[in-house]
């Protein structure tokens, strides 16, 4: 017993180091295989507030460009609206809508890591829940991963773990959108079968297979494509529409049918076994 205590006292620094290392590695490795930790994220109260107050200052530097962006979007939406034959305002009653939209502001953005997360200033209080889709006026951005009362972290499409259903516009050939961690303006679309005719410059949009994003939200254009090692599927490099380095205003999409879809899928899965 004496010897054990002596041993612990003599190597206490080393043991402390090993203990702390195991703790850190535990958190880190767990996040590689599963979700971001519930506690170790920037949506908590302290970090959220510090990041937000910093953002309150820095946001003024980009106001001009941001206004321009929003004007362009309004212009586009107005054009759609005015050219529509008839407008039925009762259809905008929120009870009947499948998708509802909340706006938010980015208070922290990163794009240089293998696993990038964006923090936004909307949380549980604004009825933002995990697994909602987040887009900007130009294209998709990511999926909400964790929420606190006032903030939420978003798993960016520039994240190793990101996997989003996407398709080639005006066709029904869909694949998965992933990121190879190399460039912040290029993501990869995989699992598109070889028989699909592709051209450089084709637009990639979200597919209808996910219960997170509505169909046909723009993602980017094809920059380059080649066959994968098995020669049966394409690896496509997609140049993003979004400038991931400069994002201020975002829209958070809530699909009111999502729970029903998930429930049904779960039911089918258990019945199938």
């Amino acid at each position: 017993m004496q010897q054990i205590i002596n041993f612990i006292i003599r190597y206490k620094n080393f043991l402390l180091y090993v203990f702390l290392m195991i703790v850190s590695l535990g958190f880190t490795i767990q996040s590689h295989s599963y979700h971001q930790s519930r506690f170790f994220n920037s949506s908590n109260w302290i970090t959220g507030n510090i990041l937000e107050s910093s953002n309150n200052v820095s946001t003024y530097f980009g106001l001009d460009r941001e206004n321009q962006k929003l004007m362009h979007e309004n212009e586009y939406l107005r054009k759609l609206l005015f050219n529509k034959k008839e407008i039925d305002t009762t259809a905008l009653d929120s009870v009947q809508l499948t998708y509802t939209i909340t706006t938010g502001k980015v208070i922290k953005n990163s794009f240089a890591d293998p696993r990038n997360y964006i923090t936004i200033n909307q949380g549980k209080k604004d009825s933002v829940k995990p697994d909602m889709g987040v887009i900007t006026s130009k294209g998709i951005l990511g999926i909400v991963e964790n929420t606190s009362n006032n903030f939420a972290t978003v798993q960016s499409i520039l994240n190793e773990k990101s996997n989003i259903n996407a398709k080639i516009k005006n066709t029904n050939h869909f694949g998965s959108l992933v990121w190879n961690m190399k460039q912040y303006n290029v993501v990869q679309l995989v699992d598109i079968p070889r028989l699909v005719p592709l051209t450089i410059g084709d637009t990639i949009v979200t597919g209808g297979m996910s219960s997170i994003f509505p169909e046909n939200i723009p993602i980017g254009t094809i920059r380059k494509f080649d066959l994968n090692t098995s020669k049966s599927f394409y690896n496509i490099d997609v140049a993003l529409f979004n400038d991931m380095t400069n994002i201020k205003n975002v829209y958070i999409i809530d699909n009111s049918n999502r729970e029903e879809i998930l429930e049904l899928e779960k039911l089918t899965e258990t019945n199938g076994q």
Partner: protein, 169 residues
């Protein structure tokens, strides 16, 4: 005098965390270089302090940065590594001298200080990027990031060091 001394370290801790997360995490020089200047805290931390407390502080520092940058506990793992290895690195750079009571960082030569800082940075960045990228297939990417970010960190730390260094008495 003693409280003054703790006060200085607490202020240094908070300021370095804030500077790191509010300024340097957003730098993205060449698209991917984010220098990690908070290492200066471990560089400046007094030599003769309790080692266990030093490792504990290293962990706190790392986890504080991790909270802000959504990197799980990668920063913490790297900071405790350099906190643990610091005596070995110091012995390598300064010889047995550093264990004497009269040892002061400001009394050593410039070359020694730079070597000491550079070794801390290399170990830290190596652990950090290995854990961050987490695959040996991307070993070249790890080396590239260690080299590029390490250089930027070293230059900035030296600049900061000369700005805020304790005056020679």
């Amino acid at each position: 005098m003693v409280s003054n001394y703790y006060f200085l370290n607490v202020i240094r801790f908070i300021l370095l965390v804030l500077v790191q997360v509010l300024v340097f995490n957003k730098l993205n020089f060449f698209g991917f270089i984010n220098p990690m200047v908070y290492i200066l805290f471990l560089y400046w931390y007094p030599v003769k302090e309790n080692r266990a407390a030093f490792i504990g502080l290293g962990f706190l520092l790392g986890i504080a940065i991790d909270f802000f940058s959504d990197t799980m506990a990668i920063h913490a793992a790297s900071t405790i590594t350099i906190a643990y290895m610091r005596p070995a690195i110091m012995r390598f750079v300064f010889g047995v001298n550093f264990e004497f009571q009269s040892f002061k960082l400001s009394n050593t030569t410039r070359a020694q200080q730079i070597t000491y800082l550079a070794l801390l940075i290399i170990v830290h960045h190596f652990v950090f990027f290995t854990l961050e990228i987490f695959s040996l297939a991307n070993f070249l990417l790890i080396l590239k990031k260690v080299f590029a970010t390490g250089t930027a960190t070293l230059i900035l730390c030296l600049l900061f060091g000369s700005l805020f260094s304790v005056r020679k008495e």
